[in-house]
């Protein structure tokens, strides 16, 4: 180690690189160096759109890893963060809703991130500017887009704006979480709750199965005779299959009915009946429909949706869009790598990978591939949980992260110990992403 500290060395690198780049571009390097020194340590401005698990984490780690040399503006339309992870517990009556709600003050105070509460209405990739509805325009050196997903409501006939008022998804935590909990509380004992699952990929692969388990636990303890009917467009339980099937058999045998290959294509919101692709019908007092999903609207506005008109493809070293330069994309909006789920844990890891790449790029270095890991816990009652985990390493020939041979797996069985870890994980995730 030289006598220079890492910050100092990084700064010198950045200055050296900018001078050299300027020289290569045929422009006097001295003016650039002068600008940089006058500006102190600043080596660039990054705008992050979307402060969910991915965007908030990227914003924080950009500040942390650049030692404040990268200015970060974080644009988020919501004033508060409401966590999807752990929201199924609220539906089961095992957690207070308020514990899901978090502020963004930590990012501002601890990391000097500029928070802007506004909606992004346009992105000009050529001029590198983001337009918002109420806060004006923002220029960027690099844009991080963490937009999440939007539903394709049109894939379920009858699921129009009016129907959406009473038939909920609760797949984005917030008011719908509370509203669905109320519907479950109001359901008379002996009533039926129907949950539909879209074909993968969708946000949080084990989430619907955890939700069914949480609600079955609630029925078992509070609503005798009530049923949970799962209509799954997939041909099997797509995450922790043996574990969920085992729990349903041992704990919720007369409560949960699981129907694979049941793709909801229509809903009658008045009669509260859903219809499958094959013409089967099912009725429930409480319908909870999850339509198919795609990258959120703002990804379309940015022009980065380039896979099946649904998802955004990226270079897996930098997480930069393969469609538009200088835009890095995170989280659920991505065309995922093999066996990489759309999860909060993964979005957080995407945020770190993108932050690392951007720090390298703005420091004048080539970004290098990093490792990513995933872990999804599911609480199957008030205390016990199961998990699925994986470690993903970039494959230089295939140019995509692949699960490391032999790594990852699932729980041996549900346990109280993992239930404790599940709740610890949620608390730590909120802190790691938001403060």
């Amino acid at each position: 180690m030289s006598r220079f500290n890492p910050d100092r060395r990084r700064l010198l690198h950045a200055l050296g690189a900018s001078t050299a780049l300027a020289a290569a571009a045929g422009i006097p390097g001295t003016s650039l160096a002068a600008v940089a020194s006058k500006r102190g340590k600043t080596i660039g401005h990054v705008v992050v759109v979307g402060a969910g698990f991915g965007g908030a984490t990227a914003a924080k780690y950009l500040r942390k890893w650049s030692d404040g040399a990268i200015e970060v503006t974080l644009i988020e339309r919501n004033k508060q963060f409401v966590s999807c992870p752990a929201s199924n517990e609220v539906l089961g009556g095992n957690r207070a809703y308020d514990s899901l709600v978090h502020g963004y003050d930590g990012l501002r105070k601890n990391w000097g991130i500029r928070l802007v509460h506004a909606s992004v209405t346009g992105i000009d990739a050529d001029k590198r500017r983001v337009r918002t509805d109420t806060a004006g325009d923002f220029a960027y050196d690099r844009l991080v887009l963490a937009p999440g997903f939007d539903f394709i409501y049109g894939d379920i006939a009858g699921y129009d704006a009016k129907a959406q008022e009473s038939i909920l998804h609760a797949w984005k935590a917030g008011p719908q979480t509370l509203a669905l909990r109320k519907q479950l509380e109001d359901l008379p004992a002996g009533g039926t709750y129907v949950l539909s699952i879209p074909k993968a990929p969708y946000r949080c692969p084990p989430g619907p199965y955890e939700r069914a388990s949480q609600i079955a636990w609630y029925f078992k303890t509070h609503k005798p005779g009530s049923k949970v009917i799962i209509l799954d467009a997939n041909d099997k339980v797509i995450s922790k299959e043996k574990l969920f099937l085992g729990v349903w058999e041992s704990d919720y045998k007369d409560i949960i009915e699981y129907r694979p290959g049941w793709n909801v294509v229509a809903v009658d919101p008045v009669a509260r009946i859903v219809t499958s692709e094959l013409g089967d019908k099912e009725r429930g007092e409480v319908l909870n429909l999850l339509p198919p999903q795609r990258a959120a609207d703002i990804a379309r506005v940015a022009g980065v949706v380039n896979v099946n008109d649904r998802w955004a493809d990226v270079d897996w070293i930098s997480l930069e869009s393969t469609a538009v330069r200088n835009i890095h994309i995170l989280g659920d909006a991505l065309q995922a790598a093999p066996l990489m789920p759309k999860s909060a844990h993964m979005a957080n890891q995407h945020g770190k990978a993108a932050a690392a790449a951007i720090v390298e790029i703005l420091s004048g270095r080539e970004p290098q591939p990093t490792l990513m890991a995933n872990n999804c816990y599911s609480l199957i009652d008030d205390k016990r949980a199961i998990h699925v985990d994986s470690v993903h390493r970039y494959h230089p020939e295939k140019k995509v992260p692949l699960v490391v041979d032999g790594s990852g797996g699932v729980s041996k069985e549900p346990s109280v110990e993992e239930g404790l870890y599940t709740r610890a994980w949620a608390t730590t995730m909120w802190k790691d992403s938001l403060s």
Binding site: A23, A24, V359, H392
Partner: protein, 124 residues
């Protein structure tokens, strides 16, 4: 604010030329940067001296930022370096039972485990 944008825009113009030009420019810069650029992908989770081992943040989701969390999940910040390294290796080779770490540890090389142990042992 407008000034910031103007400056950033000017600067970023030079940072955002084509990849080919960037590579050319990097070659000009100096030996350290050039070395970093030469290192092949896939083998470079090992940081250069003084660089941040970015992948250490993989652990933060459960163990807290820089390994600092007070929860049911064991903290790793400031633990003895050798203890951390040997624990990870024991998880990896299956001699130490766990709910999840025996599966995650298998995702890392012994060299990476040593880097993680050193990083977290240093966190106060």
């Amino acid at each position: 604010m407008p000034n910031d944008f103007l400056l950033n825009k000017t600067r970023s113009h030079f940072f955002n030329q084509g990849l080919a030009m960037k590579k050319t420019a990097l070659a000009i810069v100096g030996s350290l940067t050039a070395l970093a650029a030469l290192a092949g992908p896939g083998s470079t989770t090992t940081p250069a001296p003084g660089r941040t081992p970015y992948f250490a943040a993989n652990c933060a989701n459960c163990h807290g930022t820089d390994g600092k969390a007070a929860s049911a999940i064991p903290p790793i910040a400031g633990r003895d370096r050798a203890y951390l390294e040997e624990s990870m290796k024991a998880f990896k080779n299956g001699t130490r039972p766990a709910t999840i770490m025996h599966q995650l540890a298998k995702g890392y090389t012994d060299e990476e485990i040593a880097i993680l142990a050193e990083y977290f042992a240093k966190q106060k």
